[in-house]
Symmetry: C2
Subunit: 245 residues, 2 copies
């Protein structure tokens, strides 16, 4: 049995999310079916973390155990061949030891959330960014974001359905930068709660629009109450960036 | 009668190209139908230049004459409303004088051609970039590109169907840069021949792969013979960037 670490890119639009579900195609199912066509094995994939429907990945990491021996390039190219026509690509396949676990040994995850801030609709980036029409102040958003950095109870930014045991997380970085009409929110932590990035971005958007101040964000965090946070930003802008081990 | 300058973004995938054709929807038709729904006028749009099927635009410029008076924001927002669901967005609408002509008074056009250079298929950038699997040397491509800069007879890089009177053009800039796994070819000139950018990129790809040298590109240019140039790069990677006046 060989454990394989896979680095995966996907467009989240056609999927119900990472995890297998009864109501549609998941990234996990697309990959597991490709594994079966490549090796004949019914193997389960474990990701560093689930992503919701419509959320994209530039560098998701997953592992799978295969009994049949393969060369690394054959795993990557063979999976890519069998993944067509789904918009999922295996960027790298590396043999790893059994001590490696995509989820449990992951020491850092990062996301980038893209906002296109302009009046006109998105002809090229529809589904790949959140379209915000009202002008946003990226500096004010970045400043308010620093309130959330560090170890906190993130109940205010946690989905009602979140299954994590504890709402306490340590947010290492939350940075907002403007690149022309595009704003990027970069978030890094050991792990995130369900919807945490989208809920933080939805709250920072209120700051960018001048509706909230950094002090409002601080009070919302301290309230430990989802109803006190801003709205959940749409999945379109969220991109899973990478997982560290 | 008021002349309007429109700055336009579009995803070229669902279109037969800029120009109206009998065999499918064009960007021009989508815009002219939106103009009619907004103002009730059957007005013709003139673009700075045509783009082929599958070619994208970040800043195409076109003009249209409207008898009915409008505020600029109303032209932009009204056209965008009526353009749905086509992936075409009017970024700006400005009133201009009758001396302005999107095609005939344009003094500079620029394009960027995107190549993603890696083994794995493109899950996120399919249709938006040329996927080249073999490793490319961007520095060698940039060096060879300089052979093409300046005033030349570009017959070697001109489509057989090109309708321009003269094959002579002055290429102001042709720059190849690498950004991680992505290569960008930036091209600027007063005007381009039909397929000129795609034919130059297809030739530079041969240089990047080590099949051709800069001297081969020079000889191909001097031959003034399309059969001596490299292949035509696919439309996917080509983005019309902007038009200057």
């Amino acid at each position: 049995m060989q454990r394989w670490k896979l680095t995966i890119e996907y467009d989240g639009r056609p999927f119900v999310g990472w995890q297998r579900q009864d109501n549609g195609m998941s990234v996990q199912q697309a990959l597991e079916e490709a594994v079966q066509r490549l090796s004949g094995e019914e193997a389960r994939l474990h990701a560093s973390g689930r992503t919701d429907a419509g959320v994209h990945a530039l560098g998701q990491v997953a592992h799978v155990d295969l009994a049949k021996p393969f060369l690394p390039d054959r795993v990557r190219d063979g999976l890519n061949f069998h993944l067509r026509p789904w918009p999922v690509a295996v960027l790298a396949a590396e043999p790893v030891g059994e001590e490696f676990h995509a989820r449990f040994t992951c020491t850092g995850r990062s996301y980038v959330y893209r906002i296109v801030n302009r009046r006109a609709p998105l002809a090229l980036e529809g589904g790949r960014a959140w379209h915000v029409r009202r002008p946003l102040d990226a500096s004010a958003m970045h400043e308010a974001a620093q309130v959330l950095v560090g170890r906190h109870d993130f109940t205010t930014f946690r989905a009602a359905l979140c299954q994590a045991n504890s709402p306490v997380r340590t947010l290492d970085r939350l940075e907002v930068t403007r690149h022309g009409e595009e704003l990027r929110v970069f978030a890094a932590a050991r792990s995130f709660l369900h919807h945490q990035v989208r809920n933080m971005v939805g709250t920072l958007e209120l700051v960018g629009a001048g509706k909230w101040t950094a002090a409002d964000v601080s009070r919302a965090l301290e309230a430990r109450n989802r109803a006190r946070g801003g709205p959940t930003a749409p999945p379109d802008g969220l991109h899973f960036l990478d997982a560290r081990y």
